[in-house]
Amino acid sequence: MPHMTLDRTDLPSLAQALAGQGRRLVLPVREGQELFYREGADPAQLDLSTIPKNSIKEFLFPKCEKILEYEYSGNDVVIEDVAPDAKPTVIFCARPCDAASLPVVEPLWNWDYKDKFFNERREQTLLVTYACRTAPDEACFCASVGLSPSADQGSDVMLYAVDDATVAVRPVSPKGKELEEVFSKFKKGEVSDEALEAFAKEGDESLAHRKPLDKVKGWLEAHFEDPLWEEKAFRCIGCGTCTFLCPTCHCFDIQDESVFDGGCRLKNWDGCQFPLFTLHTSGHNPRDTQPKRYRQRIYHKYAIYPEKFGKILCTGCGRCVAHCPVNLSLYDVVATAQERAEKGE
């Protein structure tokens, strides 16, 4: 099947056109030495040179979200339900590892109890993903977790830069297909399926040095107590950068904040790397040392979540590798686990 193409230079106008339908626009722009997905950024500033430092998580699961309002009057309290601030949104030129994080976390937000805040935002979000031809950063390892630099999981529309001047468009979801009309305004030509095949091939080749991580779960399950945790995680300073930049980390805190007689209840990002995360009021802390907390993060991603929801809680985006201030690489740790499993250790 042929795919429509457009000029690469038309991408900002395309972003504008998609946003023009009453959507808020999120796209990657440069700030200093790094890229960030930003809401309301100027489409002309669209920068596709590498993977942004933040993930798209904050647009579906904000760092601080109101979930309830309350007001006291005498003995009584009046509580007010809060509607999620779920504006129609287009995330333009998300990376495949970011888009793929959504189907990974959806089961979590929906087992038994459905979190309307995530779900309504998800429903309102249109994901236009910019396929990576090859891994854009040395830290990337999406191929190791069953994805690829051009994976389309979670995306509504895929964009492929088939050459320096041309971008091919491939709608993926029904939501994406409905947008044909918008895209067709920018149509310049067509390319065949083969043009896109290069992406799969080159993408996989660029990550050939990365290991598959299929044996990690088994190894972890048998090595809860292992010298590896102390050995690797002694250097962890517990900064939580890995959890906050991660597209799939979803842990949160609930806090009340009042001014005078009323206030609101907020759902804030939280992370397993902080001692307070699991500290009981009694003073007991099940994860009282940094290696235990680091182990929890690896377990949650590679053993617990796959067991529970059938998916690795990681899309191999590499942010926790690239931005760890002490270069404690998650990939190195799980690759070590894989290696040991392969050797039967």
Binding site: E31, N54, C64, G240, T241, F244, P325, V326, N327
Partner: protein, 286 residues
Amino acid sequence: MSDRTDKIREVARKWLADGTVEAVVGWEQGTYGEKCSPALARTPEDADRLLFNERCTNNLMTYLKRDPVRSMAKVGIVAKGCDIKSLIGLLQESQVEQEKVMVLAVTCEGVKKDDGTVPVKCQACDVNTPTFFDEIAGDKVASNPDPEARAKELEKLDAMTQQERNRFWREELDKCIRCYACRQACPLCICDRCIAEKNQPQWVETSPHPRGNFSWNLIRAYHLAGRCVECEACETACPVNIPLMLLNRSMARTVKDAFDYEAGRDPEVQPPLRTFNLDDDNSFIL
């Protein structure tokens, strides 16, 4: 550079072999780009992993405040001149006992950040050859500090009106996600339980909204006033790129101007907010 690596390994091996120290904290080759990573050498063999190069950016003194290093009877630590300033701060505040630390100093021409640029602290460095140590690796490196390097950073801020500064910081601090990476990376943030984690009463709101972020960033900078040695670890660790060093440098400038004090110089001198002069500036008080 390799001479320094050799010397570090030699000294670390010796200390570990003869039981001078339980472990040596140093740097080893990292796995992402040219990055180096903190390393813990517990045996003489481990010492051969240690190295020094211009990518050894981490300030290892932050490990003195956390386990397993904190609970060791005696530990060796590899340190650049700038890192030693942090140690001096810790000694001044009795956070570390000098007898428990062996400093393996390393001379340094300056390090490079992940993006290849030279940190301001290196442009302004006057401790390329450390003076406070037990052993030193590397030949003397002459210091050639740019006296304006630090001040230049503040020019932009100084040029703003009050309203512009307010807007500037509101925007910057709105980015804060309250991960506290700045605190965790800082060797001088030494509280076992940070004020931001105390909830009875909740002085600093933990939510990453403008009000909470303002309080947190303000109190972090305040608690480091007169203590911060401008190692830049906080700004480097910040995952959302808040220019924290602007706040820290501004505080350092105030402390220098008002109390003629520079942090991290002399372990015998009282930190400025632990003491006072009868004739301190009184002009702003009615």
